[in-house]
Symmetry: C2
Subunit: 236 residues, 2 copies
């Protein structure tokens, strides 16, 4: 008799990424990346947030809503191993697990009162697609959640895939100043799908209302174009 | 239109605690406390665990199955504040949240092949009741999950509630040696319900097939009796 539990989204994320392309692989890699957590109307209750301001970081428990597959995958090929080696799904943070639940530690940058959505949370360092459903928010407790000596297997250290980023000034001007630091961080993290490595290919993704196109060669990412994204590409 | 997601237990916990009484408040507080994670038959697949042995710690995403209430509680009174101050539920790790999802970082002590249950995980430092349903297992990634400088609000440091533990030798003999260190750790963590503080009262809980009764006065816990628990009290 399988035990089944029904979970309801209590909030969703508003972020600059309409799809997973370009999203950093884990939370915290690009602190400049800002997102907003908007509670669903049923869960807009300011007293539920009382005391949250004392915590600098939060756990978000969310749903891989774009990774819906009819079944789970016992093994996957994580990007960290070049996309060629299969490991067990439970040894990874891959979306293709039996229950599409994800976990991200994000920085709480602010608690803001808005007219349209009630009280929202401003978060930093989020690896989240626009529209991501959130099941729970928990305070990050350093004494229970931080295990600095933990052995991280094949993912022991952050991937050394930080690219050098070259952006022609003419293109950089097209990026609203508020998004520049975040965009630079996202590019340094190598937004290419898995470990593709074709110096001739022009890659692209959408972020913060822009379409960004680039090439990568010898560890250097060069931006080739930045344009306003078509309106239908701005939201997930 | 609320978004609802159906989650299925992929495993359950086998532990020495038939109920939440006596369970340490967070994972990691008592490393000697051992538990076993047993996969549900549908999810017994050794290839899904390939590579897990490289990680020293895991995240368990589980369900507060004993904390079922018809609705959630926007504010709660955490034990850390003496049980008298109300804070928002999202500023705590209380069970009484909209979705009864919990998070624990545990130490992976072993991956064991059994005849009865296939491959099981031996874990340490678990704050888990026997029978707890598990929704997901993730590797603990120090570079993403450990934030040593995080500010922990009112829960910034572990509670200084470690009690001095006094166990008469005659009673200590009744504890199987394999469980002694764990029991001592559990007692030091103060198993009394919330911040009860009646020196006259004899408290009790069940652990590892034993019924343990004790009193607490002036920071000293004295064990008053240890007996074999009635058979119906051994399982959740």
């Amino acid at each position: 008799m399988p035990q089944v539990f029904s979970m309801q989204a209590i909030a969703h994320i508003q972020s600059g990424f309409p799809s997973k392309f370009g999203v950093p692989r884990q939370s915290g890699l690009v602190d400049a990346l800002e997102a907003t957590l908007i509670f669903e109307p049923e869960f807009r209750n300011d007293s539920a947030l009382r005391g949250l301001e004392g915590f600098s970081h939060l756990w978000l428990v969310w749903v891989f809503h774009q990774a819906v597959r009819p079944t789970w995958s016992p093994t996957v090929r994580p990007p960290r191993l070049g996309g060629n080696r299969r490991v067990g799904v439970f040894a990874t943070r891959s979306p293709f697990r039996p229950n599409p639940i994800a976990l991200s530690a994000v920085r709480l940058a602010g608690i803001e009162h808005t007219v349209q959505w009630g009280t929202v949370l401003k978060i930093r360092g989020a690896d989240l697609v626009d529209g991501t459903p959130v099941l729970d928010i928990k305070p990050y407790l350093p004494y229970a959640d931080c295990i600095p000596g933990a052995l991280g297997g094949f993912a022991a250290v952050p991937a050394e895939e930080a690219l050098e980023v070259v952006i022609p000034p003419g293109l950089w001007e097209r990026v609203p100043p508020a998004h520049r630091e975040a965009l630079r961080g996202v590019l340094a993290q190598d937004p290419r799908p898995h470990y593709q490595n074709d110096p001739q290919r022009i890659y692209g993704f959408f972020f913060a209302g822009l379409e960004v196109r680039f090439t990568v060669e010898n560890g250097v990412l060069t931006v080739r174009d930045i344009a306003n994204a078509p309106p239908d590409r701005n939201r997930a």
